[in-house]
């Protein structure tokens, strides 16, 4: 196990499990992850779920837990650019990864195009499933695949919403993401390897 280096420590965050821990110290692991662009270095118990690490250790409560069974998609985040169910992922599995949550989307302070589309199309009601849907669509948007209606439907297929009936979600996703060819160069071109 690598000894974490001090310069990676986020000053605000508890580096160690707060007592009483969830397991014996022999089952603790040092992890280094980048969360929404900031380096985080922490010790986590082996059984700590990634979603609990994000929500309760880092205070990033925008990622929601809807089922803990991997079927509703509310906890979807990006790990190294790929949509992942954080309720079925252990925190230790994220070691060395780049993790992004809904809190990263409005980077400039303004809502991004995808977020705006959900507002404009009324693609949300209670808003509980919304972060997971936004992250699923962000994964699609940043991918190099052709984003046609089939791709949108497939990527939305893993997210449950109980309020909207999906019609406005589909409309919002189409408005924000639909593109026939590869994405314009000015946006996220660095991701198209």
């Amino acid at each position: 196990m690598n000894e974490p280096t001090a310069d990676l420590n986020h000053p605000q965050l508890p580096r160690r499990p707060l007592g009483p821990p969830l397991s014996e110290p022999s089952c603790w692991h040092d992890i280094r992850v980048t969360v929404n662009g900031a380096p985080v270095c922490a010790q986590v118990e082996s059984r700590l779920l990634l979603v609990d690490f994000l929500r309760h250790r880092l205070g990033l409560t925008g990622t929601h837990v809807g089922c803990e069974q991997g079927s509703c998609g509310a906890c979807t985040i990006l790990v190294d650019g790929v949509g992942v169910r954080s309720c079925l992922t252990l925190a230790v599995q994220a070691d060395g990864s780049d993790v992004r949550t809904v809190e990263s989307l409005a980077e400039s302070g303004e809502l991004n195009r995808l977020q705006r589309a959900f507002h404009e199309e009324h693609g949300m009601q209670c808003g509980f499933c919304t972060p997971g849907i936004l992250m699923s669509m962000t994964a699609l948007e940043e991918s190099s695949e052709v984003i046609d209606d089939d791709a949108i439907m497939e990527h939305l297929g893993g997210n449950l919403c109980r309020c909207t009936g999906y019609v406005n979600i589909r409309n919002a996703a189409r408005r924000a993401c639909l593109r026939e060819r590869s994405r314009p160069v000015d946006e996220g071109a660095d991701r198209d390897a």
């Binding site: 409560t61 809502l111 109980r162 019609v167």
Partner: protein, 789 residues
């Protein structure tokens, strides 16, 4: 009232974008599980793994000794401290119903933790309080309980048979409810009828399944001594009352706050044992405590809904005019009767829906079974009744060889007959009266939108090609604006901004937008100057909540009333200070301005600062008014779903080709939000029609306890839905509004079942229940083919 003729366009009726979205899109919602209080403990429950048993020796010793465990509770720990749970508000029997119908209503209060007997899988037996949920769940593993299993009864009709094992040993039998109600003389009408059809139509068991499960946080603040409870409830004031009486506290010392709520649909509208236990633990330990339900708990031990079996008979003359309807139905109440008459009576008084039926006889029985208890879920008895009525209408049309739309046209109540009295008693025990509506127009619109003649032609052509297309209609009414009241407090703040308080919180309906639209119109100020706080009991003394399609009607009328008063107070106070006549003043840009001389103005902030210095100022609470609105009658909304499907006989797969909803809900405050409510409700109904089915095995084990088995609609289940609107403003309130939250969910099972049966009519298939899954349809097709030969 709204500003004068030349004033700005009113906000009511406009699709104002939602003000709540920004926060939620940034991941800055504050749902129950997002609250973080220093030192907070977490709770996990040990729940019964068997459907019916005597329980002995709930031994907590080992659990209490595990790391991080702070406290453990079983029923013995609560003896003499708390009473079993009763949803007292829902259990009241209105005087008119008691004196006229005299129903049997037996209530079985729910012990907070099971004592001596468990009677459904999921019933709470013990509670562990620990430093984290992980550690609390660890401790559940070592709690020792001995179960002596008893026979379990799952089927509601079997439960009513003589000699059936008792579902609950302490109950005298398995009957929770029994009542009969009607009008006219059904027997005589049946004797003179040209056509009589009878059949059995059942609605399956559903789980409301909001995306956020239940949750509650409680904390006694050492500074104020008050107990603060954050709950994702739809009815915070009711929760306050129950917690206070459970813990023996004055209601003023219990402060309940509904934070962001991730969908409710009725499941969060009734009190549950956890809502009493968590505050109790917080009082005991003096530390903040949280319980967050997990999905398996929600699917098995969160309230269920809908399960009803209707044996219905309809009689008509040779032209198809309805003469009589008789319905005998059984409601599966589950392990206990938790909400009294609410659902069965709602089914009863919505059964005949938009139709003129001179003779009606309805018998309702509520059966106890060893399953999770059932409670209102979006529609609350209406979808079940509509399924029975709209199915029998199509059976009647088939027997008469009449177009189902035409049969409906011959029987709907016309606008000229409004207000229309059915001859029955409504939920309040008063004469049931539909306030307004235009059912012939709705039918006409729907028939035109789906182009019925074209669909019929194509249906014939398709059959030649071996394709099976069908069309189905479902009409329903929705008595909205349940009383007894809702309140609003409208205040001008020191900054000159306006804040509204009401008891009806939002679970996604967008109250911060729609309620503010109404206030902005009444006050004559911009929406951006007004904010809404809903569901905080410290800010308004009384409230009911957001259930039963009532919030918009009751809360918005209360807001309107209070805002009108505040506007007048603003004008009067400013007139006194500015030494002018109030009639010469108007409110513009958050200022009080002398009409025609924009130079003489006083901002609301200046006005607020000046009021304490005025002569009358000491007798007034600034510029603030509280108003309560009591609806004088139900505002009757209505809807019509028309759907065209294609069914593949080889696989039983149903494809929706066209889905049209025509709705009528009075004056619409925000069309975009209203439409989305209709679509969202319709999607839930489609889920029930095609996928959702909460199932138990014969031993009472829930077998659909994950979202892999309890199948919610996904993005490709729900088609684009075409909407049309008919507007009949309600005469029951000043705004002319009606509720519409539940309506969408009422129509789909009936409409889709009618369409599928129509598509499969060459095979002689009759649909008696949903969901219309491929395997169930395939089995029906096989049976139909067999009888054909």
């Amino acid at each position: 009232m709204t500003p004068e003729e030349e004033g700005p366009a009113p906000f009511i009726g406009r699709s104002i974008p939602r003000v709540e979205d920004d926060r939620l899109l940034r991941g800055q919602g504050r749902f129950i599980d997002d609250l973080q209080i220093e030192g907070m403990l977490e709770v996990a429950f040990l729940r019964s793994p068997v459907a019916h048993a005597r329980i002995h020796e709930v031994d907590l010793t080992a659990a209490a000794g595990l790391p991080g465990v702070v406290a453990v509770y079983n029923a013995a720990a609560l003896v003499g401290r708390v009473e079993p749970l009763l949803n007292s508000e829902e259990l009241r029997i209105p005087e008119g119903i008691r004196s006229t119908i005299d129903p049997v209503v037996r209530i079985q209060p729910m012990p907070l933790l099971a004592s001596g007997e468990v009677n459904y899988v999921g019933q709470a037996i013990a509670m562990v309080v620990a430093e984290s949920r992980y550690l609390a769940e660890d401790a559940l593993e070592v709690i020792d309980v001995r179960y002596d299993e008893l026979p379990a009864v799952i089927d509601p009709e079997a439960a009513l048979e003589e000699g059936s094992p008792r579902v609950l040993l302490e109950a005298e039998d398995n009957i929770g409810i029994h009542l009969e109600h009607g009008t006219g003389d059904v027997d005589q009408a049946l004797r003179s009828a040209a056509v009589i059809v009878e059949d059995t139509f059942a609605s399956q068991r559903y789980v409301p399944s909001p995306m956020e499960c239940r949750g509650i946080v409680a904390h006694r603040d050492p500074f104020s001594g008050r107990l603060t409870v954050w709950s994702n409830t739809q009815t915070p004031h009711r929760v306050r009352g129950h917690i206070a009486s459970c813990l023996g506290l004055p209601a003023d010392d219990v402060h309940v706050v509904a934070v962001d709520v991730g969908g409710g649909f009725g499941q969060k509208g009734i009190l549950v044992v956890e809502e009493l236990l968590i505050p109790l633990v917080a009082q005991d330990l003096g530390r903040p405590v949280r319980w967050t339900e997990d999905r398996q708990e929600n699917l098995t031990a969160g309230s269920h809904a809908r399960e009803q079996i209707h044996h219905i008979t309809a009689a008509a003359d040779e032209s198809g005019r309805l003469l009589a309807v008789r319905d005998r139905f059984v409601v599966n109440l589950g392990a206990r009767n938790m909400v009294g008459l609410v659902v069965p009576y709602n089914s009863l008084c919505h059964l005949i829906g938009p139709y003129r039926v001179p003779n009606v006889q309805i018998e309702a029985t509520g059966a106890l079974t060893n399953t999770m208890f059932t409670s209102p879920y979006r529609g609350a008895g209406r979808p079940e009744a509509t399924f029975a009525m709209e199915r029998i209408m199509d059976r009647l049309a088939a027997k008469l060889e009449m177009e189902p739309a035409e049969l409906r046209a011959r029987n709907v109540v016309t606008p000229q007959e409004m207000p229309y009295q059915t001859g029955l008693l409504d939920r309040r025990g008063l004469t049931q009266q539909y306030d307004s509506g235009d059912y012939p127009e709705m039918l006409d619109r729907a028939v035109k939108m789906i182009d019925l003649p074209r669909v019929r032609t194509e249906q014939q052509k398709a059959r030649v090609d071996g394709r099976y297309v069908g069309v189905g209609f479902a009409m329903y009414l929705e008595a909205t604006a349940l009383g007894p009241f809702e309140g609003a407090k409208v205040s001008v703040l020191p900054s000159g901004r306006i804040r509204i308080h009401t008891g009806a919180p939002s679970q996604g309906q967008g109250h911060r937008t729609t309620f503010v639209q109404i206030a902005a119109d009444a006050l004559g100020v911009e929406m951006g100057e007004i904010e809404l706080v809903a569901g905080d009991t410290a800010t308004i003394p009384f409230g009911v909540g957001t259930i039963a399609s009532r919030a918009l009607v009751t809360a918005e009328n209360a807001i309107h009333q209070a805002a009108v008063l505040v506007r007048q107070r603003i004008l009067d106070s400013a007139a006194e200070l500015m030494e002018v006549d109030p009639a010469d003043l108007e409110i513009a840009d958050n200022q009080v301005v002398v009409k025609g001389s924009p130079g003489s103005a006083m901002s609301l902030a200046e006005l607020m600062r000046a009021i304490p210095m005025t002569q009358g100022g000491s007798g007034r609470d600034g510029l603030s008014e509280v108003s309560y609105f009591q609806p004088p009658n139900y505002a009757t909304s209505s809807g019509l779903h028309a759907v065209v499907v294609e069914v593949q006989p080889a696989t039983g797969r149903v494809e929706i080709l066209d889905y049209v909803v025509v709705h009528e809900a009075g004056r619409i405050v925000n069309p975009q939000i209203a439409d989305a409510q209709i679509v969202g409700g319709t999607a839930q109904g489609i889920g029930g029609a095609l996928l959702e089915h909460m199932q138990y095995d014969e031993a009472g084990q829930p077998v659909t306890s994950t979202f892999m088995d309890y199948r919610l609609p996904t993005v490709d289940t729900v088609p684009d839905i075409r909407l049309a609107e008919v507007v009949c403003p309600s005469p029951t309130n000043a705004l002319g509004v009606k509720g519409l939250g539940e309506g969408g969910a009422v129509g789909p099972p009936a409409a889709l079942a009618n369409a599928v049966e129509d598509a499969l009519s060459p095979f002689g298939v009759v649909i008696h229940s949903c969901p219309l899954t491929p395997d169930r349809l395939w089995a029906l097709l096989r049976a139909g083919r067999a009888t054909e030969r």
